[in-house]
């Protein structure tokens, strides 16, 4: 197995920049990304290798982040699969793409299957031990504890039950849906998160990844009545570090603030929004709302845009988001989910624009 650098403590500068941006005006707008599929291509490894080998997931990934001058180091693994896999949901590993649960064979087919949702063996079930290992490796290489990650409740429930079936459970058999959500929260997510907290007491943030809880898959009623309450419950059990930032779709609403209010309940310390919503509504809507609520703002440039646009178009969008979102500081730029087909020149164009227009 190839060897990577043993020291990525230079990323602490970017982490410091992020901290300053969260509370005020840093030297420059910090930028972070998800680029696991791009990184696999850069490292010339297949998906199964990448997602099961800690040195590739951490050392390899950090080397690619460093190469492309991404400020903020992150751990970027298939966070949506880990807890589901640990309780027995089949996960499909393909050659080129991030692993995904086998959606043709959900783990929970009926009420009797609910007993499969139980506290796993953290040492031996699925890749839970690998997650601990990669977090440890990150700490070693960067000299800081990363944000801990978990799969958000609704996404996890959808992964083990099926999205359409889960929605029908909520609408037609709410008792069953409640029991499903209760078990996932109390038997699976809470014990796992508390275990991670014990292993990594320096963790200041615990991020729930929950993209499935987005419009039009759900509606604001389901977010309000089903999903937010369980985020709050998890926060009660596991601590105030819990947040869920990545629901999208507010641009589909006549009143986008209806969803932004819900997002802030799930993620009270900052507002994170991304394309296509930001492209549709404009960054000013988000900046105004974030300033009204007194929170920092993260705006994400979309994956499709990054992959398919010309470098000049990318520079223009980054410039626009920074010029509007970055006024008075408290702004971070996200380059969303950079895929394997994204031209390297596009990433470089985005970073050039951050340096050119994002320096205070």
């Amino acid at each position: 197995m190839r060897k990577f650098k043993k020291d990525y403590t230079n990323f602490q500068q970017g982490l410091g920049r992020l901290q300053r941006a969260m509370s005020g005006i840093p030297d420059r707008v910090p930028v972070f990304t998800q680029m696991h599929e791009f990184a696999m291509q850069e490292l010339r490894v297949n998906a199964k290798e990448f997602f099961t080998h800690p040195d590739l997931l951490v050392g390899g990934y950090l080397s690619v982040l460093e190469k492309y001058a991404i400020d903020v180091p992150t751990l970027d693994y298939d966070v949506y699969n880990i807890e589901a896999e640990a309780i027995g949901q089949t996960v499909i590993f393909s050659e080129h793409d991030m692993p995904d649960v086998d959606r043709s064979d959900p783990l929970i087919k009926n009420r009797n299957d609910l007993k499969k949702i139980k506290k796993p063996d953290f040492a031996s079930d699925g890749r839970l031990a690998t997650v601990v290992e990669i977090n440890n490796l990150f700490c070693e290489l960067v000299g800081e504890t990363p944000a801990l990650n978990f799969c958000g409740l609704f996404s996890l429930a959808a992964n083990i039950r099926g999205i359409e079936q889960l929605l029908m459970d909520i609408l037609m058999e709410p008792d069953f849906a409640s029991e499903l959500f209760d078990r996932i929260t109390e038997e699976l997510l809470a014990p796992w998160i508390l275990y991670l907290k014990e292993k990594f007491p320096g963790a200041r943030s615990i991020c729930g990844n929950d993209a499935t809880s987005s419009l039009p898959i759900v509606n604001t009623g389901i977010l309000r009545d089903w999903i937010v309450p369980y985020v709050l419950r998890l926060r009660e059990i596991c601590g105030p570090e819990i947040y869920v930032p990545n629901w999208v779709g507010e641009s589909l609403l006549k009143n986008p603030e209806e969803m932004l209010e819900l997002k802030l309940q799930a993620c009270p310390n900052f507002l994170e929004c991304q394309d296509p919503d930001v492209a549709e509504l404009g960054p000013a809507v988000y900046k105004n709302y974030a300033e009204k609520k007194g929170v920092p703002l993260i705006l994400g440039v979309g994956a499709g845009f990054l992959a398919l646009s010309a470098p000049d178009e990318i520079r223009a969008r980054v410039k626009y988001y920074i010029e509007v979102g970055g006024q008075n500081g408290r702004f971070i730029l996200l380059l969303c989910n950079i895929g394997a087909t994204t031209p390297a020149e596009n990433i470089k164009a985005a970073i050039e624009a951050v340096y050119a227009y994002g320096t205070y």
């Binding site: 050659e95 080129h96 589909l252 992959a307 895929g339």
Partner: protein, 218 residues
């Protein structure tokens, strides 16, 4: 109850996702001798049209679509036996073969398209996710599809949409099928570039495009 009132109630049952009301009013339609095909076309389908328009306008989302489809199906369980007994047939506007392309495991968008197409009068054959080009073409031939709908949610799998179109041409089958493409990163520009017949940004777009293509053909 007048026929018109019954039709309105059927439409409302679908619009409101009220399965019980859909079943009750479908039974009432049968009991009162209302033409079951009229109950479908002028009752249930009208409700579904409104649901689709609401989905398009951001006033309804997948949960509402599923409830509407569920109510529609519940009513059809009561109407279908009568339709068959009358030796009638619900005329379908066309047959759509749907698939998520090779290497892509996402299906929610495709499933929404399937629901909207079905409840707008199309026969839908959904062969699922991660489908090879040859599987897609063979299935389209087998089911005598009018349309092939290709979903791709990742930039890495979009090229398979192009591959399907190119392979159809190589096999001398391009003229037999309309090819519609869709999915997160897919754009009109991409659809034009690869020679697709249509690009749907939303599920409701897919219905409109499919109807337009069929109208042009006839």
């Amino acid at each position: 109850m007048s026929n018109q009132k019954l039709l309105e109630r059927l439409a409302r049952a679908v619009l409101e996702g009220d399965k019980n009301s859909a079943k009750e009013n479908a039974q009432a339609a049968v009991d009162e001798g209302l033409d079951p095909l009229a109950a479908v076309d002028q009752g249930l389908s009208k409700g579904m049209e409104v649901v689709g328009a609401n989905f398009e306008a951001g006033e309804s989302f997948l949960p509402e679509l599923l409830m509407a489809a569920d109510s529609f199906s519940a009513a059809m369980e009561i109407l279908n036996p009568v339709i068959e007994a009358n030796k009638q047939k619900i005329s379908k506007l066309g047959t759509a073969l749907l698939a998520t392309v090779k290497g892509d495991l996402h299906n929610i968008g495709k499933n929404i398209v399937a629901t909207v197409l079905e409840t707008n009068g199309f026969e839908v054959v959904d062969i699922g996710i991660d489908q090879s080009t040859l599987n897609i073409i063979e299935a389209a031939q087998k089911h005598k599809a009018d349309f092939i709908g290709l979903s791709s949610v990742m930039t890495t799998t979009m090229p398979y949409q192009k591959e399907v179109i190119e392979t159809l041409s190589e096999m001398g089958l391009r003229e037999k099928f309309f090819v519609l493409v869709g999915g997160g990163p897919v754009t009109q520009k991409w659809a034009d570039e690869i020679g697709a017949d249509g690009y749907g940004e939303t599920a409701v777009d897919a219905v409109a495009i499919a109807k337009n293509l069929l109208a042009k053909e006839s």
